[in-house]
Amino acid sequence: MNRRHFLRQLLTPLVGAISGWIFGIRPAQGSTPEGEPPRSYGMGIDIEKCIGCGSCMTACIAENNVPQPFYYRTWVERYAVKHDGEVVVQLISKDGQPVRDELNERSVLRSFYVPKLCNHCEHPPCVQVCPVGATFQSPEGVVLVDDQRCIGCRYCIQACPYGARYLHPATMTADKCTFCYHRLAKDLLPACVEVCPTQARVFGDLESTASPLTRLIRMNKIHVLKDHLNTEPKVFYANLDGEVR
């Protein structure tokens, strides 16, 4: 080994590490340093951080004009494990209280909250079944609905394993979470991520090693919902309990 070769062997990883460090501390925003659109958006949710406050639902409803009070683009479930092992699941309202409160809290051993939304699957069954191609994946992998094309057949609603879709009663077309696509276009975070007080929700580009999402995925045990259906969700849950479907 001559000197030149030795220096190259030494400096190459060093330069890589330094440039990685420089680019590594980027804000959790949609675009890559070059300003090009990122390749694949996803969301991470840390169950241990969610306090079930319902802020994400309030923000989502305000941001996206979600028809109220019965439809949700995102919602929060409370899982209460009782002393006898029985699991009771409750829907949490915008103000952080269970919608139907019929649980004796003294019987609860432990509980946790699970925020839900469209999983923006890599293989979305809704896109597969749409007869007219009104629902589609954006170049960044966000599953969207073209309400000018949707015929309102509701096949996509049936095909979604996660209950993420509904028929908007005003437009009579399928409606769902868009990861706040209109905000992403302005380099803003989805409304639910923006308002989360505990940063239980993180958002970012799955292709970027720098995004908080990638960090969450790296540092935690990660689950996705209903992975046996091979939809390859892009909403990743850290510290998820096996009870959750």
Binding site: W75, V127, Y155, G163, L167
Partner: protein, 407 residues
């Protein structure tokens, strides 16, 4: 959301048991989507019955051949109507034809439907009726003459060679028609069977179960129509024909029942993740429509009746009564089957933790009265078709055929 919607949803929310995903509260596919597989099933079944005559040379069933074809046509013409009425944007439905998504089972609807209507049914009916249309037009005056001439596409050739070609064409079309009828209804089954999100639907058996239940419903409908129309025309019911049709109905019921039983056993034995919620669904929500109407009244009872008919040498009148009764029960059973698939499949949440309910409206575009109107409409279309294209064979033809059957 309108105040009426909110009120309706509040009513639904009260009846929810367990935990459902919030967007699963309302049933998305209503009674209209129950009607669609019911109507297409009748089309496919009636066509299969008609094809028995032409392809498998079952001479006894000849008296109902044309009636079965016209029944298939009448129901096929109305079948897309409930779908259309169900759409959120019916004015955009043509998009399915213009910009179909090739990965969507539903997008293939346009093509399967058009193929079946244009290539199979209309063509077969035209060839089957061409000679008669020409002969009828020759003896008529005024409007009917022109209608019949136009329907014959102004052809006038009734030479032996032309008629022989008609017969050959009918046979060829029927041979294409059988797989097409299988496709038509198998594909409807596939629409449901391919939804992996829904364990009540997702089954590879679904298209086959749909197909055989279609055959069952189609044959029993033609039996009913034949038994009602023939006395109204002052004619005698051909018992050889009725016995033979009922025999085919009996075989189809056996296959259909076996398939559904297999599906049931398979689910129970595999006991997958969804088994608990599906048991809850059957025991709490579908006990009347599935256990009582579909299985006991719609399948077991007519099956027992048909076994009795075959075991005991019953009198003609009693046989007729029992055939009629079984055919009505089977219609009821198949309608319940469609209901249980479509509505039942939406009454449990994909959370697998809770059940919701379906409240059918009385009035309104997806209400009970509209549904009944949609069910009556094909019969009205059939009445018009029968007036324009009389499906009855002449007495000489009937005598010749019965001689042939006996001989």
């Amino acid at each position: 959301m309108t105040p009426e919607m909110i009120e309706r949803f509040e009513g639904l929310a009260k009846q929810v048991s367990g935990f459902i995903y919030p967007n699963d509260l309302d049933i998305h596919w209503s009674i209209m989507i129950v009607l669609y597989p019911y109507l297409t099933g009748l089309v496919a079944g009636a066509f299969i019955l008609a094809s028995l005559v032409k392809v498998f040379n079952v001479k006894e069933v000849q008296p109902t051949y044309r009636l079965a074809l016209l029944t298939a046509l009448a129901f096929l013409l109305i079948a897309p109507l409930p779908l259309q009425m169900h759409l959120g944007h019916p004015e955009r439905s043509y998009e399915i034809f213009l910009t179909p998504n090739p990965t969507s089972a539903m997008a293939m609807f346009g093509f399967v439907y058009l193929w079946y209507l244009m290539v199979v049914l209309l063509l077969e009916i035209w060839f089957a009726y061409r000679k008669d249309l020409i002969l009828m037009a020759q003896n008529e005056r005024g409007l009917m003459r022109w209608i019949h001439r136009a329907l014959a596409l102004f052809s006038t050739d009734v030479s032996d060679r032309a008629v022989a070609f008609d017969k050959k064409a009918v046979k060829a079309i029927t041979i294409i028609g059988i797989p097409s009828a299988f496709l038509l209804h198998g594909y409807v089954g596939f629409i449901f069977g391919s939804i992996k999100a829904n364990p009540w639907w997702s089954s590879v058996l679904m298209p086959i179960v749909f197909l055989f239940s279609a055959i069952v419903s189609g044959i029993s409908l033609v039996i009913l129509l034949y038994m009602v129309i023939t006395p109204l025309r002052g004619e005698k019911i051909d018992m050889a024909c009725l016995d033979r049709m009922s025999a085919f109905l009996f075989y189809a019921v056996i296959v259909d029942f076996s398939l559904e039983f297999l599906d049931f056993i398979h689910r129970l034995y595999e006991s997958e993740e969804s088994i608990k919620i599906l048991s809850d669904l059957v025991l709490n929500k579908l006990i009347l429509s599935l256990v009582v109407l579909q299985v006991l009244l719609g399948m077991v009872l007519p099956f027992v009746v048909m076994v009795l008919i075959r075991v005991f040498n019953l009198h003609e009148d009693l046989r007729r009564l029992l055939y009629f009764l079984s055919a009505i029960l089977i219609q009821l059973g198949i309608f319940s089957t469609r209901w249980n698939v479509v509505i039942g499949g939406q009454m449990f949440s994909k959370s697998f933790r809770g059940l919701t309910t379906y409240k059918m409206e009385l009035l309104g575009i997806e209400g009970l009265f509209t549904a009944m109107a949609v069910l009556v409409l094909p019969l009205i279309v059939l009445t018009v078709l029968v007036k324009i294209l009389p499906p009855w064979e002449s007495e000489t033809a009937a005598a010749a055929r019965s001689a042939q059957v006996r001989g």
